[in-house]
Point group: C2
Chain length 288, copies 2
Amino acid sequence: MMILDGKATSKAIQEEIKEIVAIRMASGQKRPHLAAVIVGDNPASRSYVGHKIKACEFVGFDSSLIELPENIRQDELIDEVQALNDDQAIDGFIVQLPLPDHIDAQAVLEAVAPEKDVDGFHPINAGKLSLGIPSYLPATPAGILEMLDRYAIETAGKHAVILGRSSIVGTPMALLLSRNASPGNCTVTICHSRTQNLAEITRTADILIAAIGKPHFVTSDMIKPGAVVIDVGINRIEDSTKKSGFRLTGDVDFDAVVESASAITPVPGGVGPMTIAMLLKNTLQART
Amino acid sequence: MMILDGKATSKAIQEEIKEIVAIRMASGQKRPHLAAVIVGDNPASRSYVGHKIKACEFVGFDSSLIELPENIRQDELIDEVQALNDDQAIDGFIVQLPLPDHIDAQAVLEAVAPEKDVDGFHPINAGKLSLGIPSYLPATPAGILEMLDRYAIETAGKHAVILGRSSIVGTPMALLLSRNASPGNCTVTICHSRTQNLAEITRTADILIAAIGKPHFVTSDMIKPGAVVIDVGINRIEDSTKKSGFRLTGDVDFDAVVESASAITPVPGGVGPMTIAMLLKNTLQART
């Protein structure tokens, strides 16, 4: 059984990016610059954005954090997005989700210039992904592909079962794993809250990807022996023994499933760090 | 067992559209206008485009057929597309595929203004589909949804197995059937040329959609009794008893499968006519 160490893999990718940045600097090119927009004080969002900014520092990117108040109007937020679109210094930027309820997140994401949309959330980038045209890939599914690739996990002809159909993880993951590419060429099944006989389906999975946001939802009886299990869940559950009062746990009952899986990602330290590495990769490509 | 009569259903939709056009005319609005661009002399393409133009006449749309020579240069073709984008009289238009090999079809499709892209092939429309945002849906998968809906075939919680991952049928079909909508909410499995144990998978399908372009590929042993079988294939096979020298046949071995299916589309007269109806529906929406 193999633990898919997302932390170490992410670090390795970040070292590679750092080297590319150093080479670019030595040849007098521009330093990549990622900006992040954060609205309000959601602690999880602040933590994610903090990790991204720290990773920028590590690889030698410039970074900017644009902090906006919870009560910002939608048109003001879109003005901020336009300013970043127009700012020649910024190669790529993200708008950290979720946004407050009074803001139409889709309108904000569509305001991002597609060529600076390093999250891959703009419809034109989602469409290119769907059509198999090169584009910025959303960081979480891209990170999973990269991990499968680096651990040399065979995907062609395998049955991948995806739990969750969100537009940022489940759906693009299904598109990427089903396409004629490597990694790829999986037979893909998309499951969700309306799926019947779920365990029967997951037990046919050679590769199981859990992205539903329910702690310990995937139990050992749902796994085919030898399956590769990828846990996208990052759930905060109360834990009075922790200083923060909570700990992070995945969608998979790791301790039970680890016995029968051939490979598994831990939480934390699995998919999460890969996501950051892929965001940096997209930003590196964004330089024009 | 129920034959899903695409011809009659398409006719019914066209009657509805005809009525809407008549009402618009009576209130002094503009008559919808669909244009079709065809390059070269592919007989199947000519036949498809001819059906589309004829359907426009039936419902009361204006139509234009732009016939271009096989040896047109790509930049000349894109100029034609731009002219249609700029032409206020044209509400929507299609570029009939396939295009000659010397032309980059993707570049041509991306030149179509998204708001006139009634085939739904532009990346921004494909992206909206993937993200669940209203957009022009590609006509074939939209026609299948419409048929399932009009025949009141329950889809929620059902297992839909799709044979084929093309960007115009298999992939958008998977996205549409998996989303949280009605019809929709299927557990969806995408199969393709690299799928292993295909018959084992198709035998678990409540709804089986064949879109692989191989005559009579789906045989009766691949069907679960009671399944709904949708045949997207339009294959020309030689037939010396026909004046044309060929006949059309689907991807499904109809005569054998009809025994065990609960509902099935014939070829011809199934999905094909629905495609035309949905193109007209998109054009009706396109009016600005």
